[in-house]
């Protein structure tokens, strides 16, 4: 036993660092223990080839909560954007691309679709604002007689009412159906439908026809309420988020240790009492907060034998199947995309020709195979951020779906190469000369992401964002409002309400809850 802390934070992902900082500002003595060398978790910069770096996991910033950025003074701690309000361009082989602009409009479609898009965004914007009310507070419990929860519920209820009758019905209807149907009834242009519906399935083990994907879309667009009109690029890659947050945390008095993997959360008979590191060192604390995902937290760190059978079942049934892979290319020059100017390739480029294509790509994953015609979300950050590659060279980073974490055939060098080739060939369909530019390449399957970033199954949100796993049911009933069945143990990561993305609300809300409960709550 060495020093004792008020709070030991397991994991220095963005949520962990944010939670730790708020707690330190409230006067708690906080220690953050991060397994990796780098802080930031899934917000990471990775030098995958000497001199070439990419945002390894998360690549776009689109939903960082502005209150957090302000409270923690992230700008002064080094968070800078290389580009903001980028366009999302759905690539067409015939170069008739469709663009959702940073100004909130859409280009390359009929006047009718343009009008429909404006109306669609108006409606979705209202719903996102409503979700924001729910996301910035702890999730209300269903039964508990508690005034905080009642008032929050009331506010949300009132918000639903204030939508007006038509939009209220729309919300209730859309919440349960799927992107495919919504797109079919709203738009004509296949590429536009595909571009929008892709946002509903990013990071999910779902296709556009899966129920609950409208919620996925709304979730992906929380940033529209937080001042992001389209994706942004963080200067220096997403790892800079970790650096800025670590600076803010240190300034607030948080002690941080990286390369310090927690082996177990220690328990006295009654409650969490600290942690033991992989190297055998034990650290005691009044509270343990876990930024690690729920499965890691409960199964590996607390241990199933220290949990109720019911809890173990809940944890097991928490859906974490992931199917987003990352492709990284070091390029000898800027690739040319058919029909795009050099200035345009720095936007978000999406390859998803139509919704059936996405659905079929998902079908493969459903049966444990990788997509034979994958869908891609591409970022060439060096257009805006020269520092990521040597002079004149570029890096390309792409989210490639769908690649199941547990491939039926197993992820071997051979299967990985096969999928990588598929992904590169898919890009080459739109950027014919790209293959000649490749200096180095890397594919990270969900299994690799799990290994590198310590998230179960490599899941984007630490577990599906689907209607049965959100709000008071996140991660599962019995572990809500950031508390867990283990007294003295809290969750603050993407597996807690509201969920993942580099947003920070899980971390902030968890800190609020811990502060509210006071003392050794």
């Amino acid at each position: 036993m060495t020093k004792s802390y008020d709070v030991v934070m397991v994991g220095g992902g963005h949520n962990g660092l944010i939670c730790a900082t708020y707690l330190a500002k409230a006067g708690r003595r906080v220690l953050v223990l991060e397994a990796n060398e780098q802080l930031g978790g899934g917000a990471a910069t990775r030098e995958f080839h000497p001199g070439f770096s990419v945002s390894a996991c998360a690549q776009w910033m689109y939903s960082l909560n502005p209150t957090i950025a302000k409270d923690l003074n992230l700008a002064s701690h080094g968070l800078q954007y290389a580009a903001k309000n980028l366009h999302s361009i759905a690539l067409a082989k015939d170069a008739k691309h469709v663009t959702i602009t940073g100004e909130g409009g859409v280009e390359g479609v009929s006047a009718q679709d343009k009008a429909a898009y404006r109306e669609f965004r108006r409606k979705m914007g209202k719903f996102s604002k409503l979700l924001d009310k729910l996301f910035t507070v702890r999730p209300p419990k269903v039964i508990e007689n508690n005034w905080t929860d009642r008032i929050n519920l009331l506010k949300i209820g009132l918000g639903v009412k204030l939508l007006g009758k038509a939009d209220m019905y729309e919300l209730l209807r859309l919440g349960l159906i799927n992107m495919f149907d919504v797109m079919e009834e709203t738009f004509d242009d296949e590429l536009l439908k595909s571009l929008i519906s892709f946002d509903g399935v990013l990071g999910a083990h779902m296709g556009p026809r899966s129920p609950g994907t409208v919620y996925g879309y709304l979730y992906r667009h929380m940033g529209d309420v937080y001042g992001f009109n389209g994706p942004a690029l963080v200067k220096g890659g997403m790892g800079s988020v970790g650096v800025a947050l670590a600076n803010a945390a240190t300034a607030a008095g948080v002690e941080i240790r990286s390369a310090a993997r927690v082996k177990s959360i220690d328990l006295t008979a009654e409650r969490a009492s600290g942690v033991t590191l992989e190297n055998g060192e034990s650290i005691s604390a009044t509270l343990v907060v876990s930024n690690a995902d729920p499965k890691t937290t409960f199964n590996n760190l607390v241990g199933r034998r220290n949990l109720e059978t019911n809890t173990v079942r809940r944890v097991k049934n928490f859906r974490t199947k992931a199917s987003a892979a990352k492709l990284h290319l070091a390029l000898d020059g800027l690739p040319e995309f058919t029909g795009l100017s050099a200035g345009q390739v720095g936007n978000r480029l999406v390859i998803a020709p139509d919704m059936h294509h996405i659905e079929r790509a998902f079908n493969c994953a459903k049966y444990g195979e990788f997509s034979t015609a994958p869908v891609l979300d591409i970022s060439i950050a060096t257009v805006h951020d020269k520092g990521l590659a040597p002079e004149g060279k570029h890096v390309l980073s792409a989210i490639v779906q769908f690649a199941p974490g547990q491939l039926k055939a197993g992820w071997t060098e051979a299967t990985k190469n096969a999928f990588k080739e598929l992904a590169i060939n898919t890009i080459a369909d739109y950027a014919p000369g790209i293959k000649e530019l490749i200096i180095a390449s890397e594919l990270l399957t969900p299994a690799d992401l799990e290994g590198e970033y310590n998230m179960t199954d490599g899941h984007w949100h630490h577990g599906d964002i689907s209607l049965d796993q959100v709000v008071m049911m996140r991660p599962f009933p019995g572990s809500e409002q950031y508390g867990t069945p283990v007294d003295g143990l809290y969750l603050c990561g993407a597996g807690a309400h509201p969920g993942g993305n580099v947003m920070g609300l899980a971390g902030k809300n968890a800190a609020n809850e811990i502060i509210k409960r006071g003392g050794s709550a």
Partner: protein, 401 residues
């Protein structure tokens, strides 16, 4: 027991499963009086339940125990697994010993009671009332254990009564007299193995015999041949119920509702509420229900188990229990006349405020004589119990006959 064919099943003229002792027990069942015990057919009464009961108390009674649900739990984590499953400290049940226990859900409500047999290193048998393989399997997540339902693979007899040890000695079970209560041992038997445990549900000197089904009939025959001089006789579930009440043993699904069987909210009970708080060990590692039970221990229970010594001889089945002011404070769950103790016993659930040992309560008993109903308000004293607890139950070696 091997699986039966459709033909065999039809030939039985019953949907109940015959135990491997059926050829023998049915030959002796003069009343053809049977009960359904978890899908098996076992004798309710052979010829005279009172004589059967007295065999348990003065001679040797034999009961077919095969339907008892039995699980074999093996593997390097078997001990840790059971320790997380049940409320008592399983590490204290050494090889060759048996322990009575309960297990709870996460609300600290009793799912069942049963016995754990520590057969060998990393090898246990769990006997239960309920069929709970789903719960056992769910609970096995994260443990290196194998769980097998061996109910049909093990035939069992309860051999209970003051002369039971002599019967077994006469049968050739050498050294059985040295087996202590809750001990278990094995003997070679007909080319197989016979396990004997000094356990039972009668509160008397007694043993339980466990063999593979193929040896069941040979076991019955040798036992009855050896026991003839000790007035051995079979007994049914009716006599067992008399004996267990006299001995102060509660019965799952009678004296408490197993948590998984509950339909209406609030009908389950914690171990503290059914008088089994002594089985809850907070000094051992984490176990199912621990948090809820600890909270209950701090904040108090809702109900209290009482054993009542009731004035008179009218059985208090299904009665209300009143305090001295006449307020209803609880109900009787089991009741009956105890022939050996010559006492009128009842088990009950009362509001936890009541029921201290020695407290005088009232039981509202309705009884009928030739369609004529009478109500008595019988004085009922809360006793520690049990009503009958002969020293021979614990004596090692037991007195020879």
């Amino acid at each position: 027991m091997s699986e039966v064919s459709v033909q065999q099943a039809n030939d039985r003229e019953t949907m109940l499963i015959h135990t491997p002792f059926h050829s023998r027990s049915s030959a002796l069942n003069k009343l053809n009086s049977w009960e359904n015990w978890k899908g098996f057919m076992v004798a309710h009464e052979y010829d005279d339940y009172e004589l059967e009961y007295f065999a348990i108390r003065s001679q040797t009674g034999v009961m077919d125990l095969t339907p008892m649900t039995k699980y074999r739990i093996t593997g390097p984590d078997a001990e840790a697994y059971l320790n997380r499953l049940v409320t008592r400290d399983v590490t204290k049940i050494k090889v060759g010993r048996v322990g009575y226990t309960v297990w709870c859900n996460s609300d600290g409500q009793v799912m069942d009671d049963g016995t754990i047999f520590h057969l060998a290193e990393d090898e246990y048998r769990l006997c239960s009332y309920t069929h709970c393989i789903d719960w056992l399997m769910w609970s096995a997540e994260g443990f290196d254990v194998e769980i097998v339902d061996e109910t049909k693979q093990v035939a069992a007899l309860a051999v209970q009564g003051p002369t039971s040890c002599s019967c077994l000695m006469a049968m050739g079970l050498e050294g059985i007299e040295n087996l202590k209560p809750f001990g278990l041992t094995t003997f070679p038997f007909e080319g197989g193995e016979l396990m004997v445990s000094r356990t039972g549900f009668t509160g008397d000197l007694g043993y339980e015999l466990w063999v593979e089904p193929a040896l069941a009939e040979a076991l019955w025959d040798q036992l009855f041949a050896a026991g003839k001089q000790y007035l051995i006789r079979p007994f049914g579930l009716y006599a067992l119920d008399m004996a267990r009440k006299e001995a102060g043993f509660i019965q799952a699904a009678v004296d408490f509702v197993p948590a998984e069987d509950q339909v209406r909210v609030g009908r389950t009970r914690s171990p503290f509420e059914i008088g089994l708080g002594w089985l809850v060990d907070f000094n051992k590692p984490f176990f199912n229900g621990r948090k809820a039970l600890l909270k209950e221990k701090e904040n108090g229970s809702r109900y209290r188990f009482v054993m009542l010594d009731i004035e008179g001889n009218k059985p208090a089945n299904n009665s209300f229990i009143l305090n001295k002011k006449g307020k209803v404070i609880g109900t009787v769950t089991s009741a009956g006349w105890c022939p050996s103790a010559k006492a009128n016993v009842a088990f009950g659930q009362v509001d936890a405020k009541y029921g201290e040992i020695g407290e005088e309560l009232i039981t509202e008993i309705y009884y009928e004589r030739e369609l004529h109903w009478t109500k008595v308000l019988a004085k009922s004293v809360v006793v520690k119990g049990p009503m009958y607890d002969p020293p021979r139950r614990r004596a090692t070696p037991p007195a020879p006959f």
